[in-house]
Amino acid sequence: MSEGGRAAILGNIRRALGRGELQGEARAACEARLKSHARNLVPARGQLPREEQVALFIRMAEAVKASVSRVAKDDDVPGAVVDYLKGQNLPADVIMAPDPALDRYGWASQKMLAIRRGKPVDADQVGVTGALCGVAETGTLMMASGPEHPTTLNFMPETHVVVLRAAQMVGAYEEGFDLLRAKGAMPRTVNLITGPSRTGDIEQKIELGAHGPRRLHIVIVDD
């Protein structure tokens, strides 16, 4: 059925377009388009010096109800996470991505912070991950799945804390995908995340925390 379906659907389209299988120059042009994956218009908004990108990122992320704290150095990260959890009356008990990039932050300094590494279960209230990059244009985080970053961490815990280095900031989504392509083939899942989960499905009034995280907190580390 499937092979027959393919021939029938492609045949219908070709008949409507008044030609056979795409060939010659036209085909080469389409193939070149796929290969070059050239950028279309990229809004000027995010095309700024790094420091202004970070400022724009913070403004855009906060506008969509994410919260942001900014720390000067690696050693300040665990304290910033603990302070945030305290402020939200959340347990100092987190499930953290098994991402070696997170190892540099000296978590042991926070004696009260219980950390498990791996993927989450429903009882986990707080997840901590890194990100591939931050996108200044809309305050968006880009996450790629892999052994070091289970996608469930982005969706299951009610609170998602993300540690992002200022040097990881880019202007537009396209730059994030360039970073990803440089690493090789597409991972199973890529998430562009802009603020915490929300829904307007009841009376078109926006409420946070529909199925994904109710809170999204981003700790930005200056270098």
Binding site: I9, I13, T189
Partner: protein
């Protein structure tokens, strides 16, 4: 699934206008919940340029649709996924049930899919002994109520929070709780979370299928489409052939436009790209990835005026700005797709014979076309269906014979003059001293709620003959 009743649009609308509960719910759309002008266009100076690029890239894709579809399919397979080409709705339903059977599945967690609605998937799954669980909040609510979506992006827009509280009390078996929106959302979250884990299959739709990588992309705010595809062991994407774009860059361009026109957001919360099954070493994600690629009449639109409709990205801007939709709501359309886009798509899906009233359900105010980010000439496409409807002699008999008589007379000027003179005279006599007619032959629809003024003086042609020289 409730019966679809596009033929009865007129009766459905009268009922909808008299339904106080529905009218209260529709107030939510009338207060313009999508702040289209302010946020969508105002804060992005490049909006118009992006829109032009989005239209151009979709047109390019359609002109080369066979190439991009085939490339997409090859790349799905290259990334370890399976592709199922389905011409008709029935083939897609069978393909999905076959995958479920092969996996020994009992339940399916579903992200929101309008194509799923289009093919009546839930009823078919249930008949095959499977349990589909809608996880989008709006879809979850209407599934309990046995309703169809009344809006393509806000399926439960016809309900108030009180209706939702009643529905939850009934289906979650507890006493009626206060109708507070945050509590209702928390309740749905709590009820649904275990269901994702239980589900053997996760099914999502797709906003885009990306030829370059064989990825499918969904754009959502809740995160249910993501949980539905990463927790179950099998992920099925159900998508129609018009969802293809060439590259990731192309998908991003249209996504920028979609977020603004659909929900007035700078960017939708979750833009998720899914490519194949989980990779070696991954701790989560599906073990199998399938794409069910559906035509269902779309390739037949290629090469016709209606081809423009294949650019549609289902943002719902045309519904949100339509005076007809905002007055009668979606269920009056008696169709899966509603509002102006539904009035254009539905005849291609179920036949103009069953959908004839829909292309007429328009004031031709042109708002739909002016807000459409893909530049689809919706009023012109509705007119195209009206013309086809007429050509197929499916217009009401009274209209057909009336226009036939007029055409016969109009070609014979002398006879036309006599006939109109006679007509004017006759109406004047019937109008009597009141000068008004309470009922008009062949025009009872018009005179049901008002009187028709009887003609005064001579016919236009007679007056013209008399005054032309003097003017």
């Amino acid at each position: 699934m409730p019966a679809l009743t596009s033929e009865n649009f007129r009766a459905n609308s009268v009922k909808a206008l008299g339904n106080a509960q529905l009218q209260r719910a529709l107030d939510n759309i009338r207060r313009d919940f999508v702040d289209f002008k302010g946020r969508a266009v105002g804060e992005l100076p490049e909006y118009d340029a992006l829109k032009r690029e989005a239209i151009a890239l979709k047109n390019h894709t359609l002109e080369n649709l066979d190439f991009y579809l085939d490339t997409f399919a090859k790349n799905v397979e290259a990334s370890g996924g399976h592709i199922h080409w389905c011409q008709a709705a029935g083939e897609a339903r069978e393909a999905i049930v076959a995958i479920c059977k092969k996996r020994g599945a009992k339940t399916m967690a579903k992200g929101k899919s309008m194509v799923g609605e289009e093919i009546g998937l839930n009823a078919y799954l249930e008949a095959a002994g499977l349990t589909p669980i809608e996880t989008d909040l709006g879809e979850y609510i209407i599934q309990m109520r046995g309703e169809t979506p009344s809006h393509i992006t806000a399926p439960a827009i016809h309900l108030t929070k009180e209706d939702v509280a009643d529905t939850f009390a009934e289906h979650h078996n507890h006493a009626r709780r206060p109708a507070e929106i945050p509590a209702l959302i928390a309740e749905a979250r709590e009820m649904l979370r275990p269901r994702y884990h239980e589900a053997d299959i996760g099914l999502t739709g797709a906003n885009f299928l990306i030829a370059e990588t064989g990825s499918s992309m969904i754009i959502t705010n809740e995160g249910n489409g993501d949980l539905s595809q990463i927790l179950p062991r099998t992920h099925i994407v159900l998508a129609s052939i018009d969802k293809i774009v060439p590259t990731i860059e192309d998908a991003l361009t249209v996504a920028r436009v979609l977020a603004r026109t659909s929900s007035g957001q700078e960017f939708t919360v979750y833009n998720t790209f899914s490519t194949g099954a989980r990779r070696p070493g991954d701790l989560d994600g599906p073990e199998e990835f399938h794409v069910v690629l559906l035509d269902n009449g779309r390739s037949a639109l290629m090469g016709t005026k209606q081809q423009a409709m294949l650019r549609c990205i289902r943002c719902a801007a045309c519904l949100n700005h339509c005076p007809v939709y905002k007055s009668v709501g979606g269920h009056a359309y008696g169709a899966v797709y509603t509002g102006p886009m539904g009035a254009v798509i539905t005849p291609s899906l179920i036949g103009i014979d069953k959908a004839a009233p829909l292309p007429n359900a328009s004031t031709f105010c042109g708002r739909c076309e002016s807000v459409c980010p893909m530049g689809i000439p919706l009023p012109a496409l509705m007119r195209d269906w009206r013309e086809r409807e007429y050509e197929r002699a499916e217009a009401p008999a009274a209209l057909r014979s009336g226009i036939g008589v007029w055409a016969y007379l109009a070609k014979r000027p002398a006879l036309y003059a006599r006939a109109t003179w006679l007509g004017v005279k006759a109406l004047r006599v019937i109008g009597g001293r009141r000068g008004r007619l309470a009922s008009l032959p062949l025009g009872q629809g018009w005179t049901a709620t008002r009187d028709f003024p009887a003609p005064e003086g001579a016919t236009f042609r007679a007056q013209w003959r008399r005054t032309r020289g003097a003017a």
